[in-house]
């Protein structure tokens, strides 16, 4: 009897070895904080899966007593966000505090007739940036970025919000799908992992509603698009042309958001154009 064996076709894989990822990301947090002169971190704790996963990693890296989690509600924040933020802090044994940003935001809104919900949401997001940096000063800590790769690629965040401005961002190269996988491995409570993701900046808002596509679909499309697979190949995996077009459009409208501000170049020593040094370069 002739033995016939079939090889598995090669394919792109989003699933990761989460213990190995955890080991790497905890080293990342320790070392990247370390050379900057820090051993403590502030994490904006929204009650969502990205901040919970960042807290879980940072607790492993620095010990719970060195992770200052700050919940920053506004009057319109969903009640469950507060419950989940507290639950995450208790679950990982970190310090926890609440800074109500309503007076900061409403102080501005009162001077700004006609401010729209979208603008108000952006003000909330940037008010949290102010708190994140100040809490860093208070605790001699750095506040961590909590953004994931999917939202970064889509530009789906407020530019310079608290998640965007952390000098160190452990989840920045993980798609949302991978953050969920990592969160499960790190024991993030199911109620936090399982709920629909939301920026919680406007009433009734969800990420997938705003984006017009589910994260699980978007992440597979993104991975193939970034690696250079043509549209027809991606459609062949079972996605619609409209889904592929939506993903590509979101990425290609937002490249500016993933860069530092643009400077007019007039010399041969223009920073980041001619004069190139990595951010960790330091002479001694």
């Amino acid at each position: 009897m002739l033995k016939i064996v079939e090889a598995a076709p090669g394919r792109e894989v989003l699933e990761l070895n989460y213990p190995l990822v955890t080991d790497f990301l905890t080293r990342f947090i320790r070392e990247e904080l370390g050379w900057r002169g820090f051993s403590r971190a502030v994490v904006a704790n929204s009650g969502g899966v990205d901040s919970a996963t960042t807290i879980a990693l940072t607790v492993r890296a620095l010990g719970p007593e060195n992770v200052f989690t700050v919940f920053m509600p506004h009057a319109i924040s969903r009640p469950e966000s507060a419950e989940h933020a507290r639950l995450v802090a208790e679950h990982y044994g970190t310090p926890y505090e609440v800074v109500d940003i309503t007076p900061m935001v409403e102080g501005y809104a009162a001077q700004t007739p006609g401010i729209t919900p979208r603008r108000l949401g952006n003000v909330m997001a940037r008010a949290r940036t102010i708190v994140g940096f100040d809490k860093g000063e208070q605790y001699r800590a750095l506040h961590l970025g909590t953004g994931n790769k999917t939202e970064r690629l889509f530009g789906y965040y407020t530019w310079h919000d608290v998640a965007d401005t952390g000098p160190i961002a452990p989840l920045g190269d993980l798609y949302k799908t991978q953050v969920w996988g990592l969160a499960e491995y790190l024991g993030v409570p199911e109620v936090v992992r399982g709920k629909p993701p939301t920026a919680d900046l406007e009433a009734g808002q969800t990420d997938e509603g705003d984006l017009g596509i589910s994260y699980r679909k978007a992440d597979v499309i993104l991975e193939h698009y970034l690696k250079g697979y043509p549209d027809a190949y991606i459609v062949g995996l079972g996605y619609t042309e409209a889904e592929v077009a939506r993903v590509k459009s979101l990425v290609n409208k937002t490249h500016w958001k993933r860069h530092l501000p643009t400077n007019a170049v007039v010399s041969t020593t223009a920073i980041h154009e001619f004069y190139l040094r990595p951010l960790d370069f330091r002479l001694g």
Binding site: R277, P278, L279, D280
Partner: protein, 306 residues
């Protein structure tokens, strides 16, 4: 004769050349009791790997490197000579290289400098923007035997190991700096790749391979470590852990090479067979040169040029 090797899989302090030299001294004092004959440090250990234009601010001439390492040796009060393989950015008359040196400290001094030929300039790498290519692969004699130096991607091309082995090298020293990527498997994908490469090259030519791989985070990129010593049958004799500083000790026994090559005379076959293929090698290389001047055949597709 057993040659005691110590692979120093260390994390450099970026841009601090003097501190990194002192760190070598600190570790040598710590492992002095293990009496290494040869210590092997990673690629770009004296400065860190990712420097962009900072290369020119940390690069050393061969004379500066020799002087600094001699001073280190003098400070150690080492018992007898000590051989050191070390990766550094080199400066020579305003031209910069990614180089590796072999020094016999307390003896003949600098024996060889290899300048990296294959400069990765794709993906996360950007070497050729800042440094120039070397153009030599050669074996040389140490007090223990004949060896060669190859740096990182040099070793990913089988032709370099072949040239070194045909030139008589019995040990290939490979300083490297490899940022971790591919987290789906039991170990980072590039670590698995490195292991299989050392095994394939060692077994093909019946040589020892000593891989010294940099560790430490450099702006989010995790230099992966996982240094290995691989024997002439292609067996992994020892492996350092990933991501963390470690010293990998191993005895290299050159007397084993002849019996292993007798079992698998692939190097002798290469000596005999390679001359038969030189015409074809020259033919395809000449063709590449012609194609370099004239675009390759398009095969119905347009050339995409950015």
């Amino acid at each position: 004769m057993m040659i005691r090797h110590a692979v120093l899989q260390l994390k450099p302090e970026k841009g601090h050349v003097q501190k990194n030299i002192e760190r070598i001294g600190q570790v040598l004092r710590e492992i002095r009791g293990h009496r290494p004959d040869v210590v092997v440090l990673p690629e770009a250990f004296l400065s860190g790997y990712f420097l962009q234009g900072g290369v020119r601010e940390v690069a050393l001439t061969q004379a500066e490197l020799s002087a600094a390492m001699s001073a280190l040796y003098d400070s150690l009060a080492w018992d007898g000579p000590l051989d050191v393989v070390l990766g550094f950015y080199e400066q020579d008359s305003g031209i910069y290289y990614n180089s590796a040196a072999y020094l016999e400290l307390g003896g003949r001094g600098l024996l060889n400098v290899h300048r990296k030929v294959f400069l990765p300039t794709y993906g996360v790498f950007d070497e050729e923007r800042y440094i120039s290519r070397g153009n030599r692969v050669e074996a040389f004699d140490t007090r223990f035997g004949r060896v060669a130096l190859l740096i990182c991607e040099d070793f990913w091309h089988s032709v370099t190991g072949m040239i070194a082995a045909l030139d008589g090298a019995d040990i290939l020293y490979v300083p490297s700096a490899s940022p971790a990527r591919g987290f789906a498997g039991a170990e980072p994908a590039n670590v698995a790749r490195w292991k299989s490469l050392t095994q394939a090259t060692a077994a093909e030519h019946g040589v020892y391979v000593v891989l010294s791989s940099l560790v430490g985070l450099e702006a989010g990129k995790g230099l992966v470590g996982g240094s290995v010593i691989t024997g002439p049958e292609g067996n992994l004799l020892g492996a350092a852990p990933v991501f963390e500083e470690a010293v990998l000790l191993g005895d290299i026994d050159l007397a084993r090479i002849a019996p292993v090559r007798y079992d698998n005379p692939l190097l002798a076959d290469m000596e005999a067979g390679m001359p038969l293929l030189m015409n074809d090698l020259e033919r395809v290389m000449a063709g590449l040169k012609v194609l370099g001047k004239n675009p390759r055949p398009l095969h119905g597709k347009e050339l995409a040029r950015g």
